[in-house]
Subunit: 256 residues, 2 copies
């Protein structure tokens, strides 16, 4: 059943009022009519089974029939801090990262980021980004739409990182060191509802200076398998691994 | 250091002769000159540190200085059997799947495959596919280039699957069943050098008939996290999980 993310303020009593792009999707793409059922999620991630009661040009109304007791959110809050990559790679990270359960994304300007986001175009860019994560959340049946923060410097990112329980950064060089702390050991330390920040460099990786700065600020370097991943693949590896570890491994010994 | 996959027949005594697209890459893209070092992998996945000794219009020669004792291949042989998806998604699966360590890819015509690959264009298509996995192998420092098999029917795929130790298929419906066998339990059964086949449906997933046919042939249905993944994301989830499990988890209890 199709899912839509609706602002909590548009739920009044037992009625949901839907406006904006979702109206087009409901009436033209899905061709729903009065009496058809949809799922509407509010800002808190709660999902309601709803039945369409009214269709107008720019508005759809639906009655809440039942609040669903379901959650498909990752038990760990994972933030992907991504060094701004080239071209449309950040969009791929947003789409796939949303499917894989990321809670939030922070783009940051790394030393080796070739692309610089034009300040003038940033509003338009953010709007497109928001659309990508909203659609991916609907498609993957997420309870919540991930947050996309404004792009920041590495220093600002470090300030943000104080609120996280475990902090790691993907560092190619780490793949060559024998006694590094494994990504699995770090993941193992996380308890449900704790927060993981994963910092990933742009195409050229981190500079030695950035790597030192991250280490000084409690970020552990990790390798993500012995192969060299492209920057856009690293985020997906991390999220799939966290999902596998906490949702599919069913290996209770590992959590001891 | 840049890596090139060279046919074993082009290694003669301690000299490698490089022809084809790699020449352009060495001389124009990387702008290497005589005396520069490259890594050349032979068909067996062995890597040699080589020094360029001669550059001509369509040929580069290099001397083998040292055979390297390195392997970054996944300890498990993973084959991704992918229901033919729309557009260029298969190319994304090939590129990212190679980075993540897949040993081979088999495209198959599923009931719900919308795209049908034109027989006349298949040779050209395969050539492009081969180029993608070769380049991704070089970029990710793989020892071996994954094999891409010709597209086949589900029945032919089942015949192929007899040589595999564990066989799974991604089945959305499984996400709704409480007592399903977890993906982690199935992965746990694999020993180093064993073979895993992962069968993934196209955009619409498997038909109930296909699902029954797979189950009858020892494919276990698995879910890949509780969220609904797009078809191209499923292969990446599997490969990242297998890498995490065998290469990064360092959780010896899990293998008992």
């Amino acid at each position: 059943m199709q899912r839509y993310f609706i602002s909590s303020s548009d739920f009044i009593d037992n009625e949901v009022t839907i406006t904006g792009d979702d109206v087009h999707h409901i009436t033209r793409v899905m061709r729903y009519t009065i009496g058809d059922q949809i799922i509407c999620n509010n800002d808190q991630g709660q999902a309601a089974l709803c039945r369409i009661s009214q269709i107008a040009e720019n508005m759809v109304r639906a009655d809440v029939e039942e609040w669903l007791d379901e959650t498909v959110e990752l038990p760990i809050h994972v933030t992907i801090a991504q060094g701004i990559p080239k071209g449309d790679k950040f969009e791929l990270i947003l789409q796939k990262g949303t499917e894989l359960g990321a809670a939030s994304f922070i783009p940051f300007q790394a030393e080796r980021s070739v692309a610089v986001w034009d300040e003038k175009k940033i509003a338009k860019k953010m709007k497109r980004f928001e659309k990508i994560v909203k659609e991916a959340s609907e498609q993957s049946h997420r309870n919540k739409v991930p947050v996309i923060e404004k792009s920041m410097s590495l220093k600002e990112l470090i300030d943000k990182s104080k609120n996280y329980d475990v902090k790691v950064f993907a560092y190619e060089e780490e793949a060559k060191v024998v006694n590094h702390q494994s990504f699995g050991n770090l993941i193992n330390k996380l308890l449900p509802n704790q927060r993981l920040m994963v910092c990933i460099g742009p195409e050229g990786g981190f500079s030695p200076k950035e790597s030192e700065f991250l280490k000084e600020n409690e970020f552990s370097p990790v390798r993500l398998g012995p192969r060299i991943l492209r920057t856009e693949t690293a985020a997906l590896y991390v999220l799939a691994s966290v999902s596998y570890h906490f949702e599919e491994m069913r290996c209770n010994e590992c959590h001891q």
